[in-house]
């Protein structure tokens, strides 16, 4: 819980130097400039497939963990669980343990103590919610600046609205709705059933050891379960684990701890309720030890998920490395298709967009290959070079000239290739296009 909360709250404050004209926040979703920064990686909108790939990986990873270890996502990493746990922790600090809380809850009279405890709890919850919504907006803007703006009431209304919305949802989902969200709102428990099988490690009740259950000192003809209901009482989603696997179970393992405590007091072995794989049941009934965990974890299904997950991951890393640092798109200006100059030269115009992904202005040189007679000229200059501002798509007009009488000037269309070269590091990119000569 501390780990996941720590990641969430601290990530926006990590700094990462990217050069003078780029933000130095390590993880930043810059909606206004349509960039996504993640440490050394910078994603432009047309590279959104990286995000899609990451989501696919997250999905496959979830499948993998679920098929191997059951509902670990829900129990350990799901924000709903993490924040609910945090809220319950606060509740325990302020109102005492479960029995004390129940007493307070049932107390009809609204005396000073009840009001004080309730208010303290709600205010603390609300502050946690506020911090949650606050941390969220820091992912979308420079965190220190935004914090200062927020405190001095100078931030954008959208920031406040988002914060308010997330504060309220955190407050109600974590404080009041809790596992109702898991049971009624979350689609994952439904999907999860398809991911699990008998080899999945999950929280289960050793029915073959506990049954028939029964109270009393005399254990004649009875199993180990003394029917103390400790497992039912601690269950946050209100199920009886002894009835078998249920959709509501979020694998929080509170029943394991509760039962182990009881078993220890009784001097019986722990593990009546335990992490187990149900494929071990016949072996255990026969009195053998369960198979080691790794035999459950490594099976075709998990290996398949791991392979798929790795393939997507390798593909993404590969794509990341071959990703070009400069890019060019060319749109020929067709109105008019060509212009005759006074010396008979035929001129075509192209709108060229150059992408400079670096954190500094860089000179790019535009050249062409494919027809030796053609010549490049950047609008407004006699040169072939253009300075592209840092981290921008820069639109420039480029003329291509064919001298009077040359093949390109007389032919209706001539194919050629534009090249752009980053003069700082020699990176190159190219685009094929057409030159239109005299049509009459």
């Amino acid at each position: 819980m501390i780990f996941t909360l720590g990641i969430y709250y601290l990530t926006p404050w990590i700094r990462w130097d990217r050069g003078p004209q780029l933000p130095d926040q390590a993880v930043l979703i810059d909606l206004a400039n349509r960039r996504f920064f993640f440490f050394w990686i910078e994603i432009w909108p047309h590279e959104f497939y990286f995000v899609a790939g990451l989501l696919i990986m997250a999905g496959l990873g979830l499948f993998l963990f679920t098929s191997a270890l059951g509902r670990v996502w829900c129990g350990y990493a799901c924000p709903q669980t993490v924040w609910t746990d945090l809220y319950i922790l606060v509740e325990r600090w302020i109102e005492g343990d479960r029995n004390a809380r129940l007493r307070l809850h049932r107390q009809k009279k609204l005396d000073f103590r009840k009001v004080r405890l309730r208010l303290t709890k709600w205010v603390t919850w609300f502050l946690i919610g506020l911090a949650t919504g606050g941390a969220w907006v820091f992912y979308f803007a420079d965190a220190p600046t935004l914090l200062r703006d927020l405190v001095t009431l100078n931030a954008h209304p959208v920031a406040y609205t988002t914060m308010l919305f997330l504060t309220l949802t955190t407050f109600f989902f974590g404080g009041f709705a809790r596992e109702q969200i898991c049971i009624y709102a979350c689609p994952w428990p439904r999907i999860q059933a398809a991911m699990m099988d008998e080899d999945t490690l999950t929280v289960g009740y050793r029915e073959w050891r506990g049954e028939p259950r029964g109270k009393g000192k005399s254990r004649e003809g009875l199993g180990d379960c003394i029917d103390c209901n400790a497992c039912v009482n601690v269950c946050p989603v209100g199920i009886d684990i002894r009835d078998g696997q249920q959709m509501e179970c979020i694998t929080c393992a509170l029943c394991i701890d509760a039962c182990d405590d009881v078993m220890e007091k009784l001097g019986k072995p722990r593990g009546l309720i335990d992490y187990l794989a149900f494929s071990d049941e016949p072996r255990e009934r026969a009195g053998h030890a369960p198979r080691p965990i790794w035999q459950h974890v490594f099976r075709p299904r998990t290996i398949l998920y791991t392979t798929l997950w790795s393939l997507v991951g390798i593909g993404l890393v590969f794509a990341l490395f071959i990703r070009p640092e400069i890019e060019m798109t060319v749109a020929p200006v067709r109105n008019p298709t060509f212009v005759t100059l006074s010396d008979g030269t035929i001129r075509n115009t192209y709108d060229v967009r150059l992408l400079n992904k670096h954190g500094e202005d860089r000179p790019f040189r535009i050249t062409l290959t494919g027809d030796s007679a053609l010549r490049v000229q950047v609008e407004g200059t006699p040169y072939e070079t253009v300075d592209v501002p840092a981290n921008e798509t820069y639109l420039t007009r480029v003329y291509v000239l064919a001298p009077s009488g040359s093949d390109a000037a007389e032919a209706e269309r001539t194919e050629f290739r534009f090249w752009v070269e980053d003069l700082t590091n020699g990176d190159r990119a190219h685009t094929d296009t057409i030159f239109n000569g005299r049509t009459n």
């Binding site: 109105n335 008019p336 212009v339 005759t340 100059l341 006074s342 010396d343 008979g344 001129r347 407004g380």
Partner: protein
């Protein structure tokens, strides 16, 4: 479905409307109350709405409505708001040094003027010069590097502001007239034929009757060189085109040139300055045209 108990007759029979056609009766199932009252509320609302907003059609227009709302008025408001927002930058443009502005392509004012000029060009100039400024027969291509009256930013500004061959141009800035050599009897037809051959030879074209070129040169020097210059490169002071280049406003074939010498040409352009366009707008469109690819540096 209404389960209103009042409508059920004793004996589980529904109340009917009392109508009977050939023994067929109609159940009386009134609209749900909430539906009915919503409907009444809508009627009341509609009456109020037609009073407040334009609604009832008349012969030539509709009632205006008490609130005075109209979509046309909204557009006018929006235009007024845009004009107001642009007022300061337009004032800046109207007073800016055009030459410096034309060369300073990175400045905000230049970008504003260029965009504004593009829009003005589309509304006011593209009818003749084409939306891409490629021109047409008799209407110059503004993208090339040939200029009848000069291609510097000041020349272009003056042309747009004054128009070409306009009676309002009392300062004689853009006035000239080519004589109709044939029609007015200044030249005989053989002379015209020879001078056309000579003019075609000036820009290196294939000449239909090469042996007339020498005669044509004499005719040219006596009749044409005053405006088109001895070497045929033209005179921008008089809008006399350069005859040695590859660009022909009306066409470079024998027949067209013959017709030009015979009847002359008198291309005109309306003045954009003053009435139609504001000073800032004329400057914006001048800047736009100057930036189309053929603009020349100022001297």
């Amino acid at each position: 479905m209404s389960d209103d108990k009042k409508n059920i007759k004793p004996g589980h029979d529904y109340e009917t409307t009392g109508h009977s056609w050939d023994g067929i009766e109609e159940y009386n199932k009134p609209l749900p109350k909430w539906w009915l009252y919503t409907f009444y509320a809508c009627i009341v609302w509609a009456i109020g709405y037609t009073i407040a907003y334009p609604a009832w059609p008349g012969i030539s227009s509709a009632t205006a409505g008490l609130l005075g709302y109209s979509t046309r008025g909204q557009v006018a408001e929006e235009i007024a708001r845009a004009d107001e927002a642009n007022a300061s930058i337009n004032a800046e443009l109207a007073n800016a040094d055009l030459v410096a502005l034309a060369s300073d392509s990175g400045s905000d004012l230049h970008r504003y003027a260029n965009n504004a000029g593009g829009a003005i060009f589309k509304s006011w100039c593209s009818q003749c010069h084409g939306s891409g400024a490629a021109g047409a027969k008799g209407y110059p291509n503004l993208q090339d590097d040939a200029w009848l009256w000069g291609g510097s930013i000041e020349d272009i500004y003056t042309t747009i502001h004054t128009g070409i061959r306009q009676p309002t141009d009392e300062d004689w800035l853009r006035q000239s007239q080519m004589p109709a050599f044939g029609r007015d009897g200044l030249l005989e037809r053989p002379e015209i034929a020879s001078v056309v051959n000579y003019v075609m030879s000036l820009s290196g074209m294939d000449v239909p009757e090469p042996d007339l070129v020498a005669d044509g040169q004499v005719v040219f020097e006596n009749n044409c060189s005053a405006c088109h210059a001895e070497d045929g490169t033209g005179d921008r002071m008089q809008g006399a085109p350069n005859l040695t280049d590859q660009i022909w406003l009306y066409g470079g074939d024998y027949d067209t040139i013959y017709e030009t010498v015979m009847n002359a040409r008198y291309g005109q352009m309306p003045p954009m300055g003053g009435a139609d366009l504001s000073e800032a707008e004329v400057r914006a469109v001048a800047l736009y045209v100057h930036g189309l690819g053929g603009g020349e540096a100022s001297e």
